[in-house]
């Protein structure tokens, strides 16, 4: 039996407050997913198990620009949260911001000859072929002579040489599954570039 006026709000909230909140959040999630590339799996819209477009279907490629050409680089584990946020809801601003942070990082390489990307494309056996998969928060598969990021204030370990990167190029890719060909097809969603400014480069050098 509906209550009298003074208790009506309490009566309504007690019954429909929580379901109404669910509906509001889910509608907002649906809008974000349809308009802004939010993965349907996240955000409270109950879109899990509805699409291949899970956050891990969105993956990154990072390249350092050097005088010798572009060098592929692993994703620093210290920025794993930022990478996961972008996998879930990529925006140009967030990718740009992350690229700038990567450009400001200090990179080092093992004391081995560097192999530029162009040569890798031609000759995969040179040692830059795919490593183990990187997963946010997990270990990243560094294989010599890949560059490694150094933590802020971390001293250069022995056997490594500081890499003077001119900048970075960060790509966000997504795969989808083609049932007819049973192939995982890929598309590049976004790309961001950032240069290591002279100030940044001096700081990292020092």
């Amino acid at each position: 039996m509906p209550p009298t006026a003074p208790n009506r709000l309490t009566w309504l909230l007690a019954r429909y407050g929580a379901p109404a909140l669910l509906a509001v959040v889910a509608l907002f999630q649906t809008y974000q997913a349809l308009r802004h590339e939010l993965t349907p799996w996240r955000g409270g819209g109950f879109g899990m198990f509805s699409t291949v477009d899970v956050p891990s279907a969105r993956f990154f490629r990072l390249y350092l620009a050097t005088d010798e050409g572009e060098i592929p680089a692993p994703l620093p584990a210290t920025l794993a949260i930022s990478f996961r946020e972008i996998q879930t809801l990529p925006t140009e601003e967030s990718l740009d911001r992350l690229a700038r942070r990567l450009a400001a990082a200090t990179w080092a390489v093992p004391d081995l000859p560097l192999v530029a990307l162009e040569r890798v494309t031609e000759a995969p056996e040179t040692g830059l072929e795919a490593g183990r998969p990187w997963s946010p928060g997990g270990e990243f598969p560094v294989r010599a002579p890949l560059p490694v990021p150094l933590l802020a204030g971390e001293e250069l370990p022995g056997g490594l040489t500081r890499l003077d990167a001119l900048g970075v190029r960060l790509e966000l890719w997504r795969y989808h599954f083609d049932q007819e060909t049973t192939r995982l097809e890929v598309e590049r969603l976004q790309e961001a570039r950032a240069t290591s400014s002279p100030i940044t480069r001096r700081e990292t050098d020092g």
Binding site: T10, W11, A14, R15, Y16, G17, A18, P19, L21, L22, V25, A26, T30, L34, P40, R42, G43, G44, G45, F46, G47, M48, F49, S50, T51, V52, S56, A57, F59, R61, P72, P74, R84, T88, L89, L117, V120, T121, P124, L128, E129, A130, G131, R132, P133, W134, F140, P141, L146, W173, Y175, H176, F177, Q179, T182, R183, L184, E185, V186, R188
Partner: protein, 303 residues
Amino acid sequence: MAEAAGRDAAGRSGLHRLRRALADLAAADRVALVTAMTLVLLLLYSRGAWYTQTPVAVLGTAGLLLPGLRRSSWFWLGLGAFLAAGYFREWYAIDNHKYLYVYWCLALALALRTGEPRGPLAVSARWLVAACFLFATLWKILSPDFLDGTFFHYALLTDLRLQWAGELFGGLSAEVSAANRRELETLVGYSAQVSPVELRSSPAVATAAGVMAWATLAVEGLVALVFAAPERWRLARLRAPLLLAFVLSTYALAPVIGFGWILLILGLAQAPDRGAIPTAYAVVFLLLPLYRIPWHDLLSALS
């Protein structure tokens, strides 16, 4: 002979006592029961960072030890607020059922502000289930790669949890499943080049995927429908059978026990006071964690 008859009688008596205990449990003060079950759920499956885990551990344990606390609206509001704040910080990684935890804490807080929380809780629980399944159904219709079976085809080929289904329904070997996962890892793993990869499949996998897609859509859509249907409609009688069928089948494939438990708690909260239905919810709640046992691996090791 007399000894065997005695053992049979003792066994029957034990079974009878178990059935009686389960019936008593389901018929007990429903608000007390669902609040206790919710605390067990949150203690075991809320997870999250320390700023979520710590308050949940303290408040959850206190609530279990002090039944009076579980009757406090402020207790549930506080617990829900800690969960919401913690999950908000990790929004990019939070699964959808964690949202349900927060909504359910809010529903408990709001219902306990009334003098008679049983009725409002039942209404809240019913509409939470209906809305959750409505949006799940909506997404499966909106998604460009669900209805044609693409999603389940991909999942059967690459998801370790569904490997047994791929082997059973699609005739894939364990080696093929492992090779597919390696292909996927190569694609998303660190590499100098990005190029498409081909997964190994079979026509049977595609057929099974199509059947799974439509069966999932049908069950989830029906759950939404029967929970939204008014009590007086005959459809409403299907709530328990359909929700239990969903939980028993879905979490056998993907054992997300926390999700299954919150659905069972919501189902129990809106179920009749007596009869087989609340007992069934309680029994499935108790047994659902058994799905975490890697049955397929154990059976494979034995055979």
